[in-house]
Amino acid sequence: MLELLQSISYWHWVILALVLLGGEALGAAGFLLGISLSALLVAGAMALGLVQAWQFQFLLFALLSVIASVVVWKLFRKQNEADEAGAINDRAGQLVGRKFTLQQDLESGEGRAQIGDTFWKVDTDEALQQGCRVEVFARDGMTLKIRKIA
């Protein structure tokens, strides 16, 4: 057993990295990506002669796995915020910037207004009359903040 561990070469780490990458491709919900990356890094470190003993390889692999996972997450989070998926499933967010005509009078404070054919909770600073053109300028959870436009 120990002999087997001592005979690990950097090629084994490369194989492990590729196998993990394959596993991720088959659908492992993202967590194999960092581990695969760290296996590759361990292989690189061995090829450069930075680590020899298998115990240190293992420790390095464990440490790098955690670090690589965090790095991968940071990388993708930035990309997550940049793409268009943010607006999907967010009805209130989709309405920000929408201009519409009030179907009923509103007192200042919270009220309900019809946009399209559904009612939304709206928040306004001033009392508004029916037929007034308003704009959704922000949202707070499910409440839309509206103001009068000229």
Partner: protein, 305 residues
């Protein structure tokens, strides 16, 4: 050195567990809630997420897409005591994952019961006829109530639609009969009206014809009278002219004309083709008389000259 080797192995296993429980990939259309020691801390959005292993845990996995809620058929009694069976569909979307998972237990069942009771409340206050003809009003009333009631649960109800309102079979039959009777009544009225109108039209035509005939006769009588008047006038004038002429000339000239006309008439009778036998009170002697008159005329002219 043996302890160190085991530790190295354990550390690797621990690191793998660490990563496995820390890296979470939330699929699009879902939101997951994260709990720190059982207490809600944040909502994980779709994409790759990282939570602190051992401390954070995934709570609820919520579908943020618009969903269909089937409301099972139920019996509702209308305000005029008709029992109808009705079912509905409700479309809703979870907008706030934390509220939907922690403000309400078993969201689906809660919403189902809410919609059912609201249907009973709205339909129960209506009469059957109103119920059947005011689907739009019912839907919007339901939507308003349900939407407002589900606000605290972070749920937006976008649509509630009554799918079917079915009264009992005997009631449906009665309604069909009523409709049929109404149509028949309308048909009968229309027929009667048509007949009445036709009769009026005929009578009016006859009236018009009678008036026109009478007017024609009146006009004709007027014209005739006028003609007779004119004829009389003409005769009077002719007589006047003749008498004036006689007054100025010899009255014997008159006898000449009478005699001439008389013989002309006799000649006409004689030459008539239909019959040579003429029975008429003819005083031939008077013709002779007139001839004698002519001779007297001649005598006088001789004396005169």
């Amino acid at each position: 050195m043996f302890g160190f080797e085991i530790t190295a192995g354990v550390v690797v296993v621990l690191a793998l567990i660490f990563i496995f429980s820390g890296v979470k990939m939330v699929p699009q259309g879902y939101n997951w809630t994260a709990e720190r020691f059982g207490r809600y801390t944040k909502t994980l959005k779709p994409g790759l997420n990282l939570i602190i292993p051992f401390v954070d845990r995934i709570g609820a996995k919520l579908n943020m897409m618009e969903q269909v809620l089937d409301v099972p058929p139920q019996e509702v009694i209308s305000s005029d005591n008709a029992q109808v069976t009705t079912d509905a569909v409700c479309f809703y979307q979870v907008l706030d994952a934390s509220k939907a998972s922690y403000e309400v237990n078993d969201l689906y069942r809660a919403m189902q019961n809410l919609v059912m009771t609201n249907i009973r409340a709205v339909l129960g206050s209506m009469e059957l006829d109103e119920m059947l003809s005011n689907r739009d009003a019912i839907n919007s009333q339901l939507l308003n109530k349900v939407d407002e009631a589900t606000d605290p649960w972070g749920v937006k109800v976008t649509r509630v639609e009554i799918r079917d309102i079915s009264p009992p079979a005997d009631l449906v039959e009665a309604m069909a009969n009523q409709m049929k009777a109404e149509r028949e009544k309308r048909a009968a009225i229309l027929t009667a009206e048509g007949e009445r109108e036709a009769a009026i039209k005929v009578a009016e035509g006859e009236k018009q014809a009678a008036i026109l005939t009478a007017e024609g006769e009146k006009e004709a009588a007027f014209r005739e009278a006028e003609a007779r008047e004119r004829l009389a006038t003409a005769e009077a004038r002719a007589t006047k002219v003749v008498s004036e002429a006689i007054a100025q000339g010899n009255p014997q000239a008159l006898n000449y004309f009478v005699a001439q006309k008389y013989t002309e008439a006799l000649q006409n009778i004689g030459s008539a083709e239909n019959s040579k036998v003429v029975m008429m009170p003819l005083e031939a002697s008077s013709v002779i008389g007139s001839v004698a008159g002519i001779s007297e005329l001649l005598k006088q002219t001789k004396i005169g000259s």
